[in-house]
Symmetry: C3
Subunit: 138 residues, 3 copies
């Protein structure tokens, strides 16, 4: 049994979803671990991680509209030092969470056919975001 870990960085183009599935598969492939557990932690409070539909692009359009509805921008927040998109970003990050865990079987992530791993950027501006990655197995 052994483990591997790293911090990966991803550039986001402002609000939206960055598919990091391939990047994770590539890192996993280089580890030599065939059976185990992969863990991701987004190291930010206004960006987050989720697993969602990887085919129909409209799902992400609707997801973004839903975030807007559940955690809208507005002047009603106490925390607004960093602009009107900051506090909604914290709320949206809370909604999806910053953690993912994926069993690894036969050298591959045990995702379903339609599942992709997304880094969700909730701020309007582009950011460089870090994801802490841990893998244990054999």
């Amino acid at each position: 049994m052994r483990q591997a870990s790293t911090i990966l960085s991803f550039e986001t183009p402002g609000r939206g979803f960055v598919d990091i599935t391939r990047a994770m598969a590539a890192w996993l492939g280089g580890s030599g671990i065939e059976e185990g557990l992969l863990t991701l932690l987004c190291r930010h409070t206004s960006a987050s991680l989720l697993i969602q539909e990887n085919a129909a692009r409209e799902v992400r359009t609707d997801l973004a509209a839903w975030f807007d509805r559940l955690a809208p921008e507005g002047s009603h927040y106490a925390h607004d030092d960093e602009g009107p998109d900051d506090m909604p970003a914290h709320l949206r990050a809370t909604l999806t969470g910053v953690n993912l865990q994926i069993p690894v079987m036969a050298g591959r992530m045990a995702l379903g056919t339609w599942q992709g791993i997304y880094l969700a950027e909730h701020r309007r501006m582009p950011h460089r975001r870090q994801v802490a990655v841990h893998l244990i197995g054999q």
Copy 2:
């Protein structure tokens, strides 16, 4: 230290909550691992996993009504190829997430007394759903 993993399948009767606590306890019992970490990943984007109250049935009634309120069916979604219950299902799966991790102590899941593990089906029709399960420990 060793690990075990599998893919378990569960039949859902359409929208609602399937208690999979006993199935997980049974699989854990068969593994021979007494101390460790159990991880579950629902391999779908319109079904999800959550830990909630296992006694009062009304909690799940209220939870279902809350899902209806936060992610209602309607004609306002861009993604509607698979019917009006599809996109709300993706949103509800995002709300609860598809991952769970449960420490294992003295051969049992370290759940609280009132906690059960539920597979939440968010589509109207019955489905067969897969859960990837990983266990590491000794």
Copy 3:
């Protein structure tokens, strides 16, 4: 490779957020494990765990107001035996989830600079809450 686990108890002063980052760092420090994976499970259905902003206090004020808006108290719940704050507490616990996983690197949790670990109490009254903690690594 080895593992450690425990059940930690925290007193909550009623509804709000209890910062448990230091308590977790202290327990991790005592384990002697430098590289690994830390898992937390809140053993309750009306309290939960989240990682959020550790600096600006207003973020938690806005987060509390958002919980009130998304899962308000009211007389419309089927489950109300334990008072009007009980069912909203279950919903809020579902929103944030009861699980966290944090990679451990060089003896420290790989959290971002602005991330703190919070135990969210969703009931009005003070409670003693248990968190099951698991650590694996070397």
